[in-house]
Symmetry: C2
Subunit: 418 residues, 2 copies
């Protein structure tokens, strides 16, 4: 079979399994997910020996230590993954929920009922535990999924998918509800994203290159985010210690992730007093600062920020600092350089907080909390399948609910159109 | 300027106007839309003389009389359009609505606030009044729009857009919030749908060819429906007169539209008694029947239905009739041949009604009402910008709300990530 035929074949099988996945009751899904969690622990020596082959190949290819670390299914990673599965098992079931219902003048009741999307294509990189998370979230929302992980984790991904498929089969469910692309060729992605009649949604997770590649070639809707250039704007009327704490937490608590801070905007009326304080705290946390000219006049030894710095997602302990003369300037800066991910204001002023909430249209807009709070778990969505910075379908952190849609339901007693 | 440059230019101007459109208050939008409605009536002789040029060209090209009829901005069509604008003006404003808000264990409040999508590209055919409807709905939801109507209505569309733009300008708003592509070349669509950084959503309305062309070429999310192959399933335990009334209304009240009935499915246990009754009523309404073999044995002179008939959207007074042995057979038939538009059951049986509601995943699923009820106005959405049969973003009739998205808002008092 050609790669194209293999992909079409997998997609057709997943598509046929989707109605069964959609009909699973909440109880069945809970049982199946808990059984998968248990089986993953029981079979950890199998999982780890398959994983060892991926690691061996990665070593012989000379992959970096952090890459190999991310690839490794240690007991610790497995235990976390299994806990995640049990948590997903215990969520409320989104499927069948009637989100609204209203009555029309002719007595007809109209409502919206949550249903699964159908088939979800997940395209991701490296970490094999994403295979388990993604498959579990898709199943919980009643969807079939087609998984395509990184080639370096292929054997681990096959082993994890096998556990899902075995448990599905043991419960009399079509195992193709969890399908893995049988090839790691990049070409396979190209074929998958053209199958608009078989796949309902594509979720790519990984580097900007992968996401652009998927998005430019897909005929299927894609929910994605390219990068997180998050801002914290420190308004003129502000609690200094809160502002310092939010800046340090947002930048330094975990600088490699997409909701960490990249640019600090400070109102010019407080700069003389505030900037030295926040700079000291950031530098103590190991953060290197790159400033606009005005900021550099106040703090000695700050590297100059270039135009590129305002667009940068450093993913490292580097922070760009800019002084602005008003909240409007801050909002304009965010609109121009931001990435629609997460932007925050710290302020004591009511009308500034409301203006920021209203006028910044990033997917998450925060008053007086760290940008690091922008996360599906922290928001209470239960789990996060990804973050969307495109406004269609879902915008911001996506939970299980975002893997569903709503259909209209009509309850009549004979109404006709006059 | 090349066609590509013209399109990019228009899109850039609409994109720049979008933040102004997003900031309009409910009161401003009401005023502007009412002023547009009044101006359209005041300037009807201008609109009609521009329209006359389109009609003249259409005549010289030999367009059919129904086509010319759809093109014509009669006093009656204008009055209806103006009423539509006034109705849209009076809707509640979706923008800024906080649809949910909850509290996290750390005291942080998390909510979802409705915001405009940004820039919407509308691609449609023939009827120039769609220009007014679409522009008004986009504006109401705080969006800028780029309109591309049929080439045969170009002068009429320019005239209508000009009225919108003049009123916007009179109110100090950037008129590019309502933009029309300055060319009618089909190539322009190709360029428009590639501008993913400037346009947030594409809504094509028209024939299946146009919609496929848009959908296959677009890098921007597309909300669409190809066709409406709607079913009515007459269950075994049924009020015959209601079933007959629903079948006749769904098929014959307005056969040319997408929510009219195309296939009637009848439970085999009632066929002998019910089929003659419904056939007579349908034939009296001028409907030609095409039946499966079993149906043809009961009703004389029914044309045989071929496999193609089950897929057909007749848009005419023709109806396919099939006898099925169970509700499961009916659901399977709908899943195989349906178009995810609107499907209905008529039944007195509680569990049949619930099974149908649960297992048919069309965008509208109806119990005991005509498929013709599947409509934004009838559902109380206020107006309808289109119908989506793709499950992403919106599914079913789309109202003003579906031209918005929600962002997460967070109200904290200093929360950081531990």
């Amino acid at each position: 079979m050609s790669i194209r035929e293999q992909v079409i074949n997998t997609a057709m099988m997943a598509h046929s399994a989707a109605p069964e996945a959609a009909r699973l009751t909440m109880g069945q899904k809970e049982t199946i997910l808990n059984q998968i969690a248990e089986k993953m622990w029981d079979e950890r020596s199998f999982l780890q020996s398959e994983n060892a082959r991926d690691i061996e190949k990665a070593r012989s290819k000379g992959l970096s230590l952090p890459m190999i670390d991310r690839l490794t299914l240690s007991d610790n990673v497995l235990a976390q993954t299994i806990n995640g599965l049990k948590e997903i098992a215990s969520f409320p079931d989104p499927v069948g929920e009637i989100t609204r219902m209203w009555v029309r003048p002719n007595g007809m009741r109209v409502g919206k009922m949550r249903i699964p999307l159908g088939v979800i294509g997940m395209i991701y990189e490296s970490r094999p535990n994403v295979t388990a998370d993604a498959a579990a979230l898709c199943l919980k929302a009643g969807n079939a999924c087609i998984l395509r992980g990184g080639s370096e984790a292929y054997d681990s991904n096959v082993a994890i998918a096998e556990i899902f498929r075995t448990v599905l089969e043991d419960n009399g469910i079509n195992p193709n509800a969890v399908s893995l692309l049988p090839t790691t060729e990049r070409e396979a992605i190209l074929h998958l994203v053209k199958l608009e009649d078989l796949v309902d949604l594509i979720i790519p997770r990984g580097g900007e290159d992968l996401i652009r590649f998927v998005s430019e070639n897909s005929r299927i809707p894609v929910v994605k985010h390219y990068k997180g250039v998050c801002h914290l704007y420190v308004d003129k009327d502000v609690d200094f210690s809160m502002a310092v704490s939010l800046a340090v937490n947002a930048k330094a608590q975990r600088p490699g992730v997409c909701n960490s801070l990249e640019t600090l905007l400070i109102h010019s009326s407080i700069t003389d007093e505030f900037l030295p304080k926040v700079s000291r705290a950031l530098q103590e946390a190991g953060v290197a600062l790159r400033g606009c000219e005005r900021a550099r006049k106040i703090v000695n030894g700050m590297t100059p920020a270039s135009e590129d710095d305002w667009y940068a997602e450093y993913s490292a302990l580097i922070l760009a600092v800019k002084i602005v003369d008003s909240i409007d300037d801050a909002i304009r800066h965010i609109a121009k350089y931001g990435s629609l991910h997460t932007d925050a204001i710290v302020t004591k002023d009511y009308s500034a907080s409301q203006k920021f909430l209203r006028e910044v249209n990033s997917s998450t807009v925060i008053v007086n909390a760290s940008t690091r709070m922008s996360d599906g778990y922290v928001f209470g969505l239960g789990a996060e399948i990804g973050i969307s910075t495109t406004k269609i379908h879902a915008y911001g952190p996506m939970g299980v609910e975002d893997l569903t849609t709503t259909k209209f339901i009509v309850l009549g007693d004979g109404q006709i159109r006059e």
